[in-house]
């Protein structure tokens, strides 16, 4: 049975899209059929990592939500990102970056229950082993819907007090929605910090497993939002941590 994995963070800029892309790529390289949905309709970003120009594509998630198309029509095969030797497949459902589309969502909203139906259709039609949902930061109807739908929730946070506080809220709300599996990933951790000690603190603060502690790294910044870090630098500590997370997500 397919697994839905939602990636959430309380604030923006935690590296949510980047982590989603890296985990999805690593899973697809292992031979799985993997999909990604960018539900951050207000500030989409993940498509950049896959060289997908949303101006050139006929359909996006927005079109599905407004009933213009089937969701599978908005899914694009980005398997070529993985390199020649990849055995799995990778699909991306981007959000539109057209200013008009974004404004329309902000103004009229959309029926969030359609998201849940969309995920189901994607899994069946493509078909998929794993579906990653890149959520909008913070808690609103759309993210709550994703949390209520997902099998696995990955909460990403940076080591600062605002993220610590916000994550506590997310964890509590997610518990009430009975998310089957919930994990914490600490991202952009300064190099000087003892990562194991920080992980232990987080485990006791949230009573939730910490599956990865990713150091803050200049290489990652240099790469910016173009390219998949764990594919380009497979031996880097960040890439190793990513693979460890993937191991926790696979049987």
């Amino acid at each position: 049975m397919a697994k839905i994995i939602a990636i959430h963070s309380f604030r923006g800029g935690t590296g949510k899209s980047n982590t989603t892309a890296n985990l999805a790529c690593l899973l697809a390289r292992e031979g799985y059929r993997v999909g990604m949905v960018d539900t951050d309709i207000q500030s989409p970003g993940i498509h950049v990592l896959f060289d997908l120009d949303t101006n050139d594509i006929p359909y996006a998630l927005n079109d599905y939500l407004w009933g213009k198309c089937d969701i599978a029509r908005a899914a694009y095969d980005v398997t070529k990102t993985l390199g020649a030797d990849a055995t799995g497949r990778l699909f991306l459902v981007p959000s539109s970056i057209r200013a008009g589309d974004i404004a329309r969502v902000l103004h009229y909203g959309y029926d969030v229950t359609l998201l849940k139906e969309g995920y189901r259709q994607l899994i069946r039609q493509l078909p998929l082993d794993y579906l990653f949902i890149d959520t909008h930061p913070g808690i609103n109807e759309e993210t709550l819907m994703s949390i209520a739908t997902t099998d696995v929730l990955l909460i990403i946070l940076r080591p600062d007090q605002q993220d610590y506080q916000g994550t506590a809220v997310t964890v509590e709300v997610s518990r009430q929605l009975e998310v089957p599996e919930m994990y914490i990933v600490l991202n952009k951790v300064p190099v000087r910090v003892d990562r194991e000690a920080l992980a232990a603190k987080a485990v006791s603060a949230y009573d939730c497993p910490v599956v990865g502690v990713l150091p803050h790294d200049e290489d990652m910044l240099d790469l910016g939002s173009s390219g998949i870090f764990s594919l380009r630098y497979p031996d880097h500590i960040i890439s190793r941590e990513m693979r460890r997370i993937v191991q926790r997500l696979t049987p």
Partner: protein, 333 residues
């Protein structure tokens, strides 16, 4: 070649000083230039020192009309005076920066004068017979030894200092100051004695007059010596006081040691100590800052009350209640 050049200089200086004869020593002049062959021997090598001494004495005798070869034993003696101090390099002394090295230098100078004079006298006794022994002891031997030893002792360090062969470390500064004070004491004694010699001291008035002059000279030298000591002691203790204050600063958690900047710019042991202190303080400061930051980073503080409020705001909405009911159905479908 360089040796010959300096030998010429030494020779001319010799001929000039040959007119400044020491009192009651008819053949021995005051010869500050003896420091020249000694310094050349130390700065270049022993043979160069020998050449300067030997040729110089020969030229000096020639110009003064004594005849080039008449006192050949003294040519050899002057050569030895340049040769012997140069040997200190074979005792591992390249630069002079400690009291031990300074001591060996001064000993070599005095020793060279003694050996050289004894050697000249020995040659005279054996071959030349200009002197009669022991009657020439006060008129030849002793004055020759004294002028060479004292002049070398005072002036060789000055020359070596100018050529940076002597390093101005704290040890050297200290021993130099002590030496200068000693010399002042010796000089004041010498002045009083010389004054007594110059007068025939027949009258009581003359004795008293000399007594006062000697007293004035002593007081003058005492004041000069004391002022010199004060300046030196201040220069010596100020860095130590600053460093003591700096370590107190560090102890109380202040790591800005800019008060040590003037000490750190010194080129001696205190300068090195001060630079190490400043560097250490910086290291400690950085380490402490990074430790404090690590502890800060490791603290996950959660305001439970605020969290509960925010959670309540979310879960008490109708949307959430509805969603919660559906969630189970969503996942099983």
């Amino acid at each position: 070649m360089i040796g010959c050049g300096w030998g010429l200089v030494y020779g001319v200086l010799n001929s000039l000083s040959n007119i400044m004869l020491l009192p009651s020593a008819p053949f021995i002049s005051i010869r500050p230039q003896i420091a020249l062959p000694m310094a050349v021997g130390i700065l270049l090598n022993p043979p160069a020192g020998f050449v300067v001494g030997f040729i110089g004495n020969m030229i000096g005798d020639g110009i003064s009309g004594f005849g080039i070869w008449k006192f050949w034993n003294w040519h050899l003696a002057n050569g030895l005076m340049g040769f012997i101090p140069g040997l200190i390099r074979y005792f591992g002394i390249v630069k002079i920066g400690t009291v031990r090295e300074f001591g060996i230098l001064q000993m070599s100078v005095v020793l060279a004068s003694g050996i050289a004079v004894a050697f000249a006298v020995l040659l005279d006794v054996c071959f030349l017979h200009h002197m009669t022994f022991p009657s020439s002891f006060p008129s030849w031997i002793l004055p020759a030894f004294l002028t060479d030893a004292v002049n070398g002792f005072v002036l060789v360090p000055v020359i070596l200092l100018a050529f940076r062969k002597i390093l101005l470390t704290l040890e050297i500064r200290t021993i130099c100051l002590v030496t200068i004070l000693l010399l002042l004491a010796v000089f004041s004694t010498a002045v009083s004695i010389t004054l007594s010699i110059l007068d025939d001291l027949v009258s009581q008035e003359a004795v008293i007059e000399n007594f006062y002059i000697a007293g004035i000279v002593s007081v003058f030298l005492l004041v000069v010596g004391f002022l010199a000591s004060v300046v030196f002691v201040r220069r010596f203790t100020d860095p130590v006081i600053r460093m003591s204050r700096a370590s107190q600063e560090v102890e109380s958690g202040h790591y800005d040691l800019s008060l040590l900047d003037p000490v750190s710019s010194r080129n001696d042991e205190l300068g090195r100590l001060s630079r190490v202190l400043q560097k250490m303080a910086k290291t400690v400061q950085e380490r402490e800052r990074s430790l404090r930051q690590q502890v800060q980073d490791l603290q996950i503080k959660i305001d439970r009350k605020r969290k509960d409020e925010e959670v309540r705001e979310i879960v008490e909405t109708d949307y959430f209640r509805e969603l919660k009911k559906k969630a189970k159905a969503f996942r099983s479908s």
